[in-house]
Symmetry: C2
Subunit: 391 residues, 2 copies
């Protein structure tokens, strides 16, 4: 196990009707002027935004608004938010919506109180020392941004989708009402589930040894996600299934199951290039990339893949043929993606093109020694091969 | 799943050599005058206390000292600490040691800044609105006090051992170096393991439904604890096994695996009376109480007991005889306590006496409707029966 520092200070208000506590919680965390930041459609239509506004008004918390966040949130709106925060002396940003609204809010929170240009901070991965506090009312379990230290922003002008992280970006509070997810379209539910499973896989595939507790915690989250997915796909208004999925999405990415281990994150990097180029849903891109990544890297640590297959996918281990065991686990994931999530498994189904593979590969953000990821560090040739496996 | 609020703001510095960061962390959390609070023997002999003092001095953090904490920490020392904190204007209490030092520090933290008598606050379970910040350098994975919101204090004059809780009691930071546990006597290691397993069992036995994610998280912790116990009992200096156990002790009790579910806690109440009367180790008392509690309550929810037996103790389920499955799980726990932990399983082995059962029962802190616990609420007659089962 590696040495680690860990702090997850987010206050969670979880359960039915909790959106009515937005005002009370803004006050508790010292907010005087809030930027209410949200998307375009469902939070308005569903009446959620009105309920949050009423809660703020009842608590006497002043606010300004900025709607219009889109999936894979755009840099342009971030600049607009920064401008508003500076002009209106905003002291807390409350994101109402999915990961895109929260990620956009986080970028605004950084840009509003730092001199440097926000896109420069993101692309150069500069360390920041200040940011406005961010809080959330979550409507889609997926990105884990409601408790994570990271944000992902897309620059549509340059077709770049980059992640950025700082402990200062962990939300001060997150309101999580599973009932708000009852009306999610099947496709969005599925993309969210694929995203949270990917956050667990990125942590599971590690070169670290002596990490069996976090192995088992990750497996526990995956087992619960798989079981509850089967329920919500049949019964979208099942409260407990929605609640377990929503909390699993948080645990998958606040890093409580990832401490003390080196994590991979190459699949996320490869997917970011897909959604930056084709504007596909992040979860759909991950459904295409992850099985290909697994098939390509399985021989690097066949015991770990066999463990995953046995413990999570209930594959009976073939001890004289661990490769067969491992492969059966990957096939079980593919069947789950196809039959339960009904997400694409190939470039063809996603609408991505083989001829773009050199471009996609070139755009990936390779790190030290020009490699991607930490489980089985990938060269450019490896990345191109993984994209090809996903055709 | 129940609605819940959850916040675990403790900053964890985990790993080798982390005790050298005590000074830096005290400064980061704004401390100017620290009360260094510790026990009697090992933290002094091992040189740990000196290393912590050097770290404070290097960081320019002023401190006063109060040693002498004993297991099942005494109220009398708490009064002494309160007096020092007030006199010296202490603004942070740093506990160096096991759960007893931390629990004593928490009681001092409450008493130092509240007008009312600390024992009155504890016995009347009063809600508090302020407490000094507490931080820890942990030397024994067991009580989970390094991240929990609770403390347990013994009044030797009245032979009362009472728990007290407030979110204000969660430590601001905890330093956790698994190497500090290499030299723990086998008996202390075992008592600590029994304590952390009990924290998981108290949460596992719930009347709540729709909580499969937290079920699986609890099972994950138990599985890892069982595996790593077998390692450390053979090889006390195995770093990874010690590290997994240490982090499991924190996860078992900071409530990340207990949110959204009603918890039991009757076994802890029954044990507190044993250690208050006989001054036995808390973990040893729990080893006696828990199997008896399980045998007594198993028929209340045989499916849950069968699930625990199957998932954690690897008992092959007998679907036509879940009772046999459940019982095999309890027997596996008893075998683990006897053969791996080498802890007592009966009043006789513990040094407790059958004739004290009426007194022990009478002393238990029964709650609403004169019942103890929430899984299968226990009457006085039930509690007496459980003590008898433990003879």
């Amino acid at each position: 196990m590696q040495n680690f520092d860990f702090r997850s200070p987010t206050y969670f208000a979880f359960g039915r009707d909790t959106e009515h506590r937005a005002g009370e919680l803004c006050r508790r965390f010292g907010a005087k002027k809030v930027l209410l930041h949200y998307g375009q459609g469902s939070v308005i239509r569903s009446g959620l935004l009105d309920r949050v506004k009423q809660s703020l008004e009842a608590a006497g918390v002043d606010f300004v608004e900025l709607g219009g966040v889109v999936p894979n949130p755009h840099l342009s709106l971030v600049y607009e938010g920064i401008e508003i925060c500076r002009r209106e002396s905003v002291d807390l940003i409350l994101a109402v919506g999915a990961g895109s609204a929260i990620d956009s809010a986080k970028a605004i929170a950084v840009g509003a109180v730092n001199q440097e240009d926000i896109w420069q901070l993101i692309t150069e991965r500069k360390e920041i020392t200040k940011a406005l506090p961010v809080a959330t009312v979550l409507t889609l379990p997926a990105t884990g941004s409601e408790a994570s230290s990271s944000t992902v922003i897309t620059n549509t002008a340059t077709k770049q989708k980059y992640g950025f992280g700082s402990e200062l970006l962990r939300p001060v509070f997150s309101i999580m009402n599973p009932e708000l997810t009852f009306t999610l379209p099947q496709y969005q539910t599925a993309c969210g589930i694929m995203d949270m499973m990917s956050h667990l896989f990125e942590r599971y595939f590690t070169p670290s040894t002596g990490v069996d507790l976090t192995d088992r915690m990750i497996e526990a989250c995956l087992l619960s996600i798989i079981d509850n997915t089967k329920v919500v796909m049949q019964e979208p208004v099942n409260y407990d299934a929605r609640a377990n999925l929503m909390w699993a999405g948080t645990l998958a990415h606040n890093n409580i199951v990832g401490v003390g281990r080196v994590q991979d994150w190459s699949s996320h990097a490869m997917e970011h290039e897909l959604s930056a180029l084709y504007d596909v849903a992040h979860g759909a891109g991950l459904a295409v990339v992850f099985p290909a990544f697994m098939r390509y890297t399985m021989d690097h640590d066949i015991e770990r893949y066999a463990q995953l297959a046995s413990r999570v996918w209930q594959v009976e281990p073939q001890f004289k043929n661990l490769r067969q065991t491992a492969l059966a686990g990957i096939e079980a994931l593919e069947a789950f993606i196809r039959d339960e999530l009904k997400l694409p498994l190939s470039f063809a189904e996603l609408g991505a093109k083989a001829e773009d593979i050199p471009y996609l590969t070139e755009r990936c953000r390779f790190g030290a020694q020009d490699k991607l990821g930490h489980f089985r560090p990938l060269s450019r040739a490896d990345v191109a091969e993984i994209y090809k496996l996903a055709l």
